[in-house]
């Protein structure tokens, strides 16, 4: 089958496990890895954001819990677990409890769709790009329900803003993604990644032909994540905390995890579409260059691919955090105007450019 599977069976055989066990465990492993990876990533990302914001504003950031503040988010998570789950009087109890779950569950699925390397690609259906776009929209539904169910005026304004914002920013994303689909002739994220491979490294990355699309998606994704400067649904200086004003304890923590894991997923999505996904920026893989074409080298390639994938994602995440550190918040009406009058036309222009490039490239 593949190198990783063979290596796994060999490992089990070494300790005298039956081969049937490997058949059961092997497909389950990736899901465990994703569930663990998601939580670790969120813990890391929250800390990284606070640290980077701290450095930008000439502070130290969290530095009390653990070495260099590394355990700060763990402590925060523990605190949230210990807190009481308060349901406000007059709130719709069922929806109020359901909303964080509606926001959180799609995120796990989104993480499963992303191709982390050539083998670790769990839901490689022919059109999983569409599935991704669908799932990436789902957390907004949870936000809306949560705000609506809390029976608070600030929450409802926040949730109405969230839904208006999501609708306006879905379209530019969809149109820009369409340009990529035209370029790659595929709706599968792995195929899109592979379509960007070349011996010259970044030469065929889609960020070059679809640069406008890259900018549009970058901006729209920030808006869809409700991050600064588009953090209107939870604008703390206007709406106290927006849609999650009434949330506390674990329910709040679920919204929080959703926010940050979606941030990672969307950054990874940008990497897959525009920056060559898990492909090496040098053309060939370093492990092949160093160790030749041995089996060990070929297994190492998977880890190297994941390394490149994560590295590129972290660069995008770093940009997200820098944007947050720099800009003030937009006004709600100007935010929608910005999407419909600037981003949407730009994304359509980008689609035409992509089509033109594809036609000329096909003719040559």
């Amino acid at each position: 089958m593949n190198y990783l599977y063979c290596a796994f069976i060999e490992l089990l055989a070494k300790y005298n496990f039956p081969e049937g066990l490997a058949l059961i465990i092997f497909p389950l492993l990736p899901f465990c890895i994703i569930a663990a990876g998601l939580l670790i990533m969120v813990l890391f990302l929250v800390l990284a954001e606070r640290k980077i914001l701290g450095f930008v504003t000439q502070r130290k950031g969290p530095n009390r819990v653990g070495y260099w503040g590394l355990m700060q988010t763990v402590a925060d998570a523990f605190k949230l677990l210990c807190k009481e789950n308060i349901t406000p009087a007059g709130a719709d109890k069922f929806l109020f409890t359901l909303a964080p779950l509606i926001a959180f569950i799609p995120v796990m699925l989104v993480w499963g769709i992303l191709p982390y390397n050539a083998e670790f690609d769990l839901m490689s259906t022919p059109a999983n790009l569409i599935f991704y776009l669908f799932l990436a929209f789902m957390p907004v539904l949870g936000i809306f329900l949560g705000g609506w169910a809390s029976n608070s005026k600030y929450s409802i304004i926040g949730s109405v803003r969230a839904i208006a914002q999501a609708i306006s920013y879905e379209l530019p994303i969809a149109f820009s993604v369409l340009g990529i689909v035209v370029l790659a002739s595929s709706l599968n994220l792995s195929q899109i990644t592979l379509a960007q491979s070349s011996v010259f490294g970044p030469a065929k990355w889609f960020v070059i032909p679809a640069f406008i699309g890259f900018i549009v998606v970058f901006v729209s994704v920030i808006a869809e994540l409700n991050r600064c400067p588009f953090d209107l649904p939870e604008a703390e200086s206007e709406l106290v905390a927006g849609y999650n004003t009434e949330y506390s304890g674990m329910r709040f923590a679920l919204f929080y995890i959703t926010e940050y894991s979606m941030m990672f997923a969307n950054a990874a999505f940008i990497v897959v579409l525009f920056l060559g996904g898990y492909l090496s920026p040098f053309g060939g893989y370093l492990s092949n260059i160093i160790f030749g074409d041995s089996i060990a080298a070929n297994i190492l390639v998977y880890f190297e691919q994941t390394f490149w994938f994560l590295l590129k994602t972290f660069v995008i995440l770093f940009l997200f955090i820098l944007v947050r550190a720099t800009y003030p918040r937009l006004q709600s009406d100007k935010l929608l105007k910005f999407s419909w009058t600037i981003l949407l036309p730009l994304s359509i222009v980008n689609l035409f450019i992509c089509m033109l490039i594809k036609t000329i490239g096909g003719a040559m």
């Binding site: 504003t57 600030y154 400067p229 206007e238 720099t326 918040r329 006004q331």
Partner: protein, 361 residues
């Protein structure tokens, strides 16, 4: 959520204190606004009637805790007018120097918190970094960072120290001001939030007796400093803008920091070159003031502050009345807010630089 009443405050992240706004909102549009004040009322005026003149002196710093020197100055000079005291020139120059430093500190804090209201996190820390320099200096000379109690009847408590530290400090602040401008003045989001929002015309501003930077942003030259004897030896321009919107108020405050720095340089040069008494040596412990009434004005960072004292021959004032700039700025809020969006509330309210302790006193 077509039409509803939204109760903004008194506990709200960006009312900077305890202002309560009862907003009628139609969707996100504001159709009515009623400011409710009084949540920070400490009875500053009534309190004076039970205290001697000297006992009241430390409390006036608390009227507006971001510009303590100005409040001290208004009270102290009103008392001096009642006593018909001539204060030494060196003392009045020291007062000007400290007040202008205080003005810079106050405007820097405004800039940081205003950007925080607009949703930008980092400028807050940058402006606080520079404000810290000034507060550290104030701590060195008066022992306090915000409640100075440094001005006394007839001058200042003692001669100014660490004079050579002021010029480099102000120079750094003015340099950093250029950095803020790079970050903000050309920032498209900042411009779109502040330009053409909350336009206050000159006539309206005068009719509502708005003073200070809010008025000067609406095409007016009115600055009490230009008429005051205190500033007659200093060369400086009155910072002013024509548009009357939030951006103009931002520009005026930034320009005022630059103009204040010019005054500070001149004052430092004068103080370094001369020596002399810094107070009249008045012993204020059992101070009794004859029947009389006097008032003193001062141009604070938030407008014209007036302290009016009526004395009745005892050691306690018969009545003290304060007029502060922020009180009038709150009055104009309904006029400016109606027709705007909820997200403009903070942009407009923040740009007026309302200080709640000053409103309620």
């Amino acid at each position: 959520m077509s039409r509803m009443k939204l109760n903004l405050g008194p506990q709200h992240p960006s009312t900077h204190g305890v202002l309560r706004l009862i907003l009628d909102v139609d969707g996100e549009k504001i159709s009515g606004c009623e400011p409710v004040i009084g949540y920070l009322h400490r009875g500053m005026e009534k309190m004076a009637e039970g205290m001697t003149y000297l006992q009241y002196l430390p409390t006036v710093d608390r009227i507006d805790y971001l510009s303590g020197f100005f409040n001290s100055f208004a009270y102290v000079s009103a008392v001096e007018k009642l006593l018909k005291l001539e204060i030494p020139e060196r003392a009045s120059i020291i007062r000007v120097l400290l007040m202008e430093l205080n003005r810079i500190a106050s405007h820097l804090l405004w800039l940081g918190t205003y950007l925080l209201d607009l949703g930008a996190v980092s400028p807050f820390f940058y402006t606080f970094r520079e404000r810290e320099l000034i507060l550290n200096y104030f701590e060195k000379i008066s022992g306090q960072r915000m409640m100075y109690n440094y001005f006394v009847f007839g001058g200042v408590r003692h001669d100014i120290e660490f004079l050579n530290e002021i010029a480099p400090m102000v120079k750094t602040i003015v340099e950093k001001l250029g950095d803020y401008e790079k970050l903000l003045t050309d920032n498209p989001i900042f411009i779109s939030r502040t330009k053409n929002t909350g336009i206050l015309s000159r006539e309206e501003a005068l009719a509502y007796s708005i003073t200070g930077p809010n008025l000067r942003a609406s095409n007016s030259h009115l600055d009490f400093r230009s008429q005051s004897d205190l500033y007659k030896n200093f060369e400086f321009k009155i910072a002013k803008a024509d548009e009357g919107d939030c951006f103009a108020r931002y520009k005026v405050r930034l320009d005022e920091i630059r103009e204040s720095s010019k005054i500070i340089y001149q004052a430092v040069d004068f103080l370094a070159a001369t020596t002399g008494d810094v107070n009249t040596g008045l012993k204020p412990l059992n101070l009794k003031i004859d029947h009389g009434e006097a008032f003193a004005d001062v141009e604070t960072p938030r407008g014209l502050t007036t302290c009016c004292i009526k004395s009745d021959g005892t050691d306690k004032p018969y009545r003290v009345k304060w007029r502060t700039g922020s009180f009038y700025a709150v009055q104009i809020l309904p006029k400016l807010l109606i027709g705007n969006m909820i997200s403009d509330v903070m942009a407009i309210y923040g740009s007026l630089d309302v200080m709640l302790p000053e409103v309620d006193r």
